[in-house]
Symmetry: C2
Subunit: 275 residues, 2 copies
């Protein structure tokens, strides 16, 4: 049986509930973070906890646990659940608001689920662009209304994911960051008004292995003239992009630089899965 943590209690996962007065249900007010475990070890956990605490602070959410207390809960949950390859999600909500509007004592939920690590999709995915700017890109909030609302549109376009743009600058996918490789072999990812992903950060750090990588706002024109494109996320690592709307990117398969970055990233992940 799997367990879920709610506040300080370990509860059978299928019984893990919140009262309907929680501001997550009432007002969509909560933040979260999500990390993988591989072979029983969490990957980049300190980066994820850094961002979790930053999101909580930014959204004025009271954090009940210290970082060490939170790690103890996570460790205990991993022990009980015994899922070596998994995704762990920590959600912090606005709490049970008496008036349905004012922040109360936060509820924290920690869930763990088995996930399979998918091999690199060398064919590459198709993205459909959509004009949208997430309202709190500085924090990882639970607001995915636009992403879920766009699912029928995405299917109509025959796309695997959505690429948001705003004021002619490409932002991000709903659950992934976006990179291009220019004709000059520069690797770019938009600098502003995006959620800064943990794999994005790790890819940027690969600049020290000889790649030319930097944060720089990417226009739609840049995208349609690029040599390669890929997205990054905790579940996907690096995933090549073969097509955006009707434009083929490169030859429609993972480009050389994308493939080289993926290999480097795999080394970093293997070295960082520590506990």
């Amino acid at each position: 049986m799997l367990y879920t943590v709610i506040n300080d209690q370990f509860i059978p996962a299928h019984e893990a509930q919140l009262h309907v007065s929680d501001l997550a249900i009432h007002r969509g007010y909560a933040i979260f973070d999500f990390f993988k475990t591989e072979n029983g070890k969490p990957v980049f956990i300190d980066d994820h906890l850094d961002r979790f605490y930053r999101s909580a602070r930014f959204m004025h959410l009271e954090m009940i646990h210290t970082r060490d207390e939170l790690k103890i809960l996570i460790r205990e949950l991993m022990k009980k659940n015994n899922l070596p390859n998994s995704g762990i999600r920590i959600t912090l909500t606005g709490g049970y608001a008496e008036d349905g509007y004012t922040l109360a004592k936060s509820n924290i939920i920690i869930t763990q689920q088995a996930i399979k690590v998918k091999p690199l999709n060398i064919e590459g995915i198709k993205l459909a662009t959509y004009s949208h700017q997430r309202q709190f890109s500085q924090a990882k909030t639970i607001d995915y209304q636009m992403a879920i609302w766009l699912q029928p549109y995405m299917r109509e376009q025959g796309a695997n994911d959505i690429l948001y743009h705003h004021n002619n600058i490409v932002r991000e996918c709903p659950r992934a960051n976006f990179f291009i490789v220019t004709q000059n072999n520069e690797i770019l990812t938009t600098a502003t008004d995006v959620l800064k992903g943990i794999i994005r950060k790790q890819v940027l750090s690969l600049a020290n292995t000889g790649f030319t990588i930097r944060e720089q706002d990417i226009s739609l024109d840049d995208v349609f003239n690029c040599k390669e494109a890929f997205i990054t996320s905790t579940t996907k690592n690096i995933l090549p992009v073969a097509q955006i709307n009707q434009h083929l990117i490169g030859n429609g398969k993972a480009g050389e630089i994308t493939t080289a970055l993926s290999k480097q990233l795999a080394v970093v992940i293997a070295n960082n899965a520590e506990w």
Copy 2:
């Protein structure tokens, strides 16, 4: 003891819970509506149910109950709870998503709470403006992240509520529509990209009692040059605005036209509280 409806079950209100996999908690994905009962009769219930079904359809949420079935549940809840003057909230969520992302069978929650009908605040409230456009103004979703995030800012400004504006057009308050009375005694409320409130609709219908009222986008300049201003909502009916940022509106009290509209609206509400 108060009851809450979850799907087709009447549950003691303090035990009304959703599993944490619901897309409301996971992705902030749900819609709702909220109406009052006065003396045991729901006010403008058909307008609220019209909007509830419109919101559900717009957000691709599967509606399980027909309108008649929903009315039977509401009637039964009102009977059990026996709260003649109350607020009833119907929430429809994205449901228990196995993958945490794809819409599932909706959960519906109906809660009822006692509310006091407040007398008209003749002193008028203070609003603080903030640049923001709600992402799905066509639907009454649970997304109030900006409103709740702004509460510390609102308190710093000594304001009672926030007035959103976007592209120089005034939109709405987080939970209320906004009206001005011009120097020519025209009553205006912004036409576009706002949630169309039920009291807003009723005020617009007062055009047939001799007022000059219409939907027309209101600029910030219009606001700072107006004679009177007020907000409308289900809980507040008509509430005069005395100050916006540092600008006093009129003499800082309810203006003549605002007061006259309030009296007319009270008549309409009394006549419409039917079951």
